[in-house]
Homo-oligomer: 471 residues x 4
């Protein structure tokens, strides 16, 4: 019990989990080359021996006891700020492990309906924290025909459901999609993907189980090439992480790991609680990416002597506005935090939702601005291997010279990062994720509308219109 080393983490994953990728059945993720980069990415979160990183990524749970800070329940604004700052210093595997915050957010509400399940949450949270585990957010169902409810689908399993209730637990069947890092975590924390109605009782189910549980199968997919180097793929090399298509083929879940089993009125609360934290973390990363994109636009322009071109300055100004607007939204959400019944702080819901929508709905435009100033070399620049080739490399060094003093490699790395972030497979993943994480633009608009203070706006409008009582 306690913090693991990176080596212990790696070893812990060789536990018999059933993994498919690219037509192969992979028996040991720690040994397969396809997982090499993602494992390196995930392992960084266990670098507790890094003296600069340690104070950021750990906290004290009891005198002398430490855990990864992703497990810290924020109870002061300082702790909330530390949690957001943490988002910049951990991988997406650490990020999704934040799923426990969502569980704790709804624990109070759940306790009123099913105290045992609420206690299970508390127990599982402590277990995961104290064993330094990583968990995946397992939410999105296969969904089938969207015009139909869960129980109306041609196959009742298109939403994950309870197929058997036994004395010692439940048996579930279904599939969950877009499960980031599923193959590289310890626990799968499963929740309903939407609110449920009375007739969908069997679909109101939430629980946590180890990845290696019998009946669990993970089919993987990644934007990242099977192999990559960090010169040609500087962003992918830090973010490569497979998404899992996770199948539950009659999986048994003991009662002590169940958080919801038929209480359909609470189904929607899980997804809502998760969404807020997911969007918050997404914005922390979005702010960083926006700032990087702004810096890249400036650098690529300076390198080729175009930073005073008014058209370039306009595009960069748009990127500045984008960056700062996200920064201000996050700052607002933290300073106007909200508090749950049990004293946990979370960012302002409307602030997060508005900023997320602003970020998502303008992202493609910002990519356009960056690509517009960067130019064609973004996609035609030769690779590092050619730079290292004696003849090709000499030509590249001669002809990629631009403004005096700009190192050729720096110029190449700037173009390469622009390509990797916006115009290659990871770039495509970024575009889709900006829109879809947190539920697509439509869902995001609905989220805003739920917490916007329309009564105040309506009152302001009526007052301005000169309407008083009796009109």
């Amino acid at each position: 019990m306690g913090l693991m080393t990176a080596a212990q983490y790696r070893a812990s994953l060789n536990d018999g989990r059933v993994i498919y990728w690219g037509g192969e059945t992979i028996t040991d993720v720690t040994a397969h080359p396809r997982f090499a980069v993602p494992l390196a990415v995930a392992s960084r979160d266990y670098a507790y021996d890094d003296p600069l990183l340690a104070p950021i990524i750990t906290y004290e749970t009891a005198p002398g006891e430490h855990a990864h800070r992703v497990y810290q329940v924020p109870r002061t604004i300082a702790e909330l700020e530390q949690r957001l700052d943490l988002g910049r210093h951990m991988s997406i595997v650490g990020g999704v492990t934040g799923v426990y915050m969502a569980l704790l957010t709804i624990k109070d509400q759940l306790a009123q309906v099913n105290p045992r399940f609420a206690a299970n949450i508390e127990t599982m949270y402590r277990y995961a924290r104290d064993h330094d585990l990583r968990a995946a957010e397992v939410i999105t169902d296969a969904k089938g025909d969207r015009a139909k409810k869960a129980h109306e689908q041609i196959d009742p399993d298109l939403y994950l459901r309870i197929v058997e209730r036994r004395a010692d637990g439940i048996v579930v069947r279904g599939a969950k999609l877009h499960i980031t890092a599923a193959a590289l975590v310890h626990e799968l924390v499963v929740m309903p993907t939407k609110s449920m109605r009375a007739e969908e009782t069997d679909y109101a189910v939430a629980f946590s189980i180890p990845v290696a549980t019998r009946g669990v199968r993970i089919i993987n997919r990644s934007f990242a090439p099977a192999t990559l180097n960090d010169f040609d793929y500087p962003a992918s090399a830090r973010h490569s992480m497979p998404e899992g298509f996770v199948v539950f083929d009659d999986v048994f879940v003991p009662w002590e790991r169940v958080f919801l089993a038929g209480e359909w009125q609470l189904a929607g609360a899980f997804a809502a609680a998760l969404g807020l934290w997911e969007r918050t973390l997404g914005l922390v990363i979005a702010l960083h990416e926006a700032e990087v994109m702004t810096g890249l636009a400036q650098l690529v322009s300076e390198h080729q002597g175009k930073e005073r071109d008014p058209h370039v300055m306009d595009a960069i100004a748009e990127l500045m506005c984008y960056t700062e607007t996200i920064r201000m939204g996050l700052d607002y959400a933290v300073r106007h935090y909200e508090t749950t019944a049990s004293g946990m702080l979370h960012p302002n819901t409307l602030g997060i939702n508005v900023t997320k929508y602003y970020y998502a709905s303008h992202f493609h435009q910002m990519v356009k601005h960056l690509q517009d100033v960067a130019g064609g070399l973004t996609i035609t620049l030769p690779e590092e291997a050619d730079l290292r080739h004696p003849e090709a490399g000499a030509y590249l060094r001669k002809y990629l010279a631009a403004r005096p003093g700009v190192a050729i490699e720096q110029r190449m790395r700037v173009f390469t990062l622009i390509r990797d972030m916006t115009a290659d497979a990871y770039g495509g993943w970024n575009l889709v994720t900006a829109l879809q994480a947190g539920g697509g633009l439509k869902a995001q608009r609905i989220m805003m509308a739920r917490t916007f203070d329309m009564e105040r706006a309506r009152h302001a409008a009526l007052t301005a219109a000169g309407v008083t009582r009796g009109h």
Copy 2:
């Protein structure tokens, strides 16, 4: 000395000032019907006997002494917040009187170059405060050919300049444009419109003089109809205020009222200091208008049973996002305030500039959303007079019925306000002002670029690109 009553304010304006409007020479603005509504608007700022308003619009300058709060120099975040809140509770005449904050902002800097002028600022500020005066921001020159500098124009007077330096003062000549409320204030606070170069020395001039000073002439213009009622023009009735084309026909300014007279290096600082406060106030009002527009979109839709139409919901969600993004930007700018050498607080410069740019560059789109959901009645609804007509009114009451329970007058007032705010003369003024106040989109982008932390962005980009020293 001390606070004036509204009646005293009105009386104080009949001082011999030279005013033109619509081909007439107007000798007493307090008696001319063209000024009736604007005067009513401006007079509200003197309603110190309103017990709800008084604590908001006044503050104590010395034991038992009160002044209008627009004169209060914010020294704590609470005072800064009060100042922003004040923006919602005073007319634009009060708003422009905030010009003294700009003067005080640059006073320290000015003192190093010309202590006498710095002292003049302090003196004039106290004088205006203690006499409860109103002042106009007199900035924009005629400018002539924008491709040429001040001294290169075909007429050297196209930028206001010093034409004579005398022992007792200076004589100035020129014209200033877009001077809101010039005909209804006491003091004209004149500043350079841009930074100046050494060869433009005579154009580096700032001072304050009474409106009735010999040689000052004001040609007026207003978006508002000559007469209006507040049913058909609910917004215009609160905002009607003439803009002045102010001519300085060899006007003498005594030295004690001069703030700049040739110190060209400081010319740009005046406009910059004013811009920040002007944009801040603009955003306070913009936030209110955005909230009103959101409420109007909701009301007009509810009235006609369309508030669940997904297309309508989408448009309203965009208005929500707009409103809250402005709110968050203002909140950020206040909480991350900056402090001058002499301890005066002002909102975060980058925060204000970014939020202003966001507001300005998206405003036309928001007008489109509101007009899209409101529909054609926005422009074809009959007037109040027809509603009061026995026959026409009966027809209107019958045929404007919509969802049960919605009062006809309320429905009409909502449409009328949408028209007045977005699709009539005041609406046009709003569109242009959103873009041009604070200098047009291009100037706003430049303002952002000046204070954006590009070094941080550049560093973030280089780090992400894997560039370290030596590359």
Copy 3:
């Protein structure tokens, strides 16, 4: 019978029609100052003695017989082009008289259901043409609660309906909104505002009646000031036309003037047929306005020496793209015309709908571009009367000088037209009309979807995806 003179047209309007405006009951529209400018606008369409205009606005109906070309049924592409060209050479009163094209478009279809009504269309068309009448398009009902159908409203009259069927005709009751020029035409051509269902039979009604028919009342509204001059209002002076709120208070319509009376299946066809011609004419005018806006942006920039400013050039380029895209869309719609069963040509439906949507959804953005380059004088420029004032005028002439050689009046007129077209009451009317004419953005999207060749797109997508039969 035959063409009227302008004087005859004016005289013909003093026929006892019941008109309300601004709380007045107006007994003779030809004598009331409120109608002076609109009447002048409408009268221009009768200037058959203008030798340049005559060939454009007339055609030969039989040897030696002429009619206004708005009555010409296009049967060749040349005639279709003439019709579009006509749109630039007649007032909006002429424009709405094109309602007969819509009636003729559905005549064939109607003949299969009710030959008598089809014959009525033909008869009324010839009558109006041969008497050189003007007609209004009377479509939009009061509508009440949009979430309910016509017969479900709290007042059954909220959609115009047949309240009595008699041997000699029908009696109708209801109100129609946004009826351009209703007070200044001869005939009101009434149609259903939407498709109707079986239970809405009484609402499926179309007919034509003279404005002075007993029971017809028109409440007027206009964007234009009660009086205006064409220096300060150059666009309004050409486009000022009241919109009518037209009430049918148990109006009797003889059978020979009825086009639809219960055939609910055809109700939607009327509005659809009208929409195409209305949008076509709208685009002809939109193209002209876009070209004018582009020219204004160029002129206002040249006048003040800013036409080489890259920011200005960008904005003007956007206006160019807008202008030419509309031009190309109209050209396409004419060249790819469609033909009705009886041989009448009309523009390509999809082409018109797409171009209309493009125009409508980008218009606010184009206004923004123009206002951005024009600057603040757009709204603060003094009026013509001040220019004519001896003292004020001298100052204006001195200080509005800009680039050498630019006449002051030309500079003022350019600003004034920008204001009138985009930032004053007519500008607001333009903004709302761009969106709402032809049914709002949502309706326009639906219109596009109806005629888009999705089968071709689906096939292209499947082929590109490698899907062949059996997959």
Copy 4:
């Protein structure tokens, strides 16, 4: 002489050309796996034995003599239409071979300055046509510091230049970037990248040489993975083509292959002539891609039962508008063609430039619409290999079921194509190419401005403003 077979084409490429890719020196492009897919793509243009394709891709040059239609000089509107249609039926290698049209476009102009060079163009055109060669458009120089001219760079070779003039020809040095298909064509047709000034005489150079000429080196780059299958990469499999970084290391060009050698006044004309044809072909492909994207949006929505969701319908309507606007622009450009002095037809310059700008400036927005409706499976869908895996495949078939009757493979292929076209490496290439092909948004705006009829717009504006002579 005459048409080649695909086999002959392949064989012709093994000619000793010097190629680098990924750190390797490749001695035979026809044998290296990296070129396998691109070669297959290029070879399709030689499928003259396809009876459906042959009439589209060939034409008769003399009785019984045929050539690829890319060589046909359009002299009638029908031939111009055939040329555009051809764009859909050849690879990008065929497309860039259209460079000869650009040469022929400027031949007349060139003949007046240097008849010999004009004759060289004619000779080279016939030679390439009659040997069924493929040629690359070799335009963009390395450019170095954009703020400096060609001769001011730190290395004079940063723009390709003549380093020696000999009796038998010239020697050139420099590098050209973004050269599509350089490694798989026969001829490199080299032109200046911009207009040149008198002091840049040595940079005004154009010529054509075989790829295997001594001193030519090509460093390759591609968006496409080294290996790919057409299930997972349906678009890449058809479009995979390397871009070349082409170095000219003191390459000798005999005079008979020179088209320009110092006539700096004509340098800009080459790029301009090429640009028009390049943008035309780009629009032909863009129209097809827009139609495919629209079909994909519809299909992916139908498959999951969302095609009646108003939000989805809105997004699809935007895609429809985009598709049809490009279609109408291309149609206009063909119908309003222009003719060169020697009788060659080309599309309307303004029409092409406007449509290109519309396409480029809205493309990212359209990608957003498609990705918004498609959802997360776009990036997380497992690969074909997993579908073929007995266990994983069975799970995929079960859980990807959606609306009854939709084949799983079809659903997967639709998602896969959306990913490949918009959210993977080819998608990124598409985004950048949409913006940059034809010179970036700024260059495109300048191109529009050059041919827009501003005199007409200025006149329309002045007339509308009431300006007549003398004002």
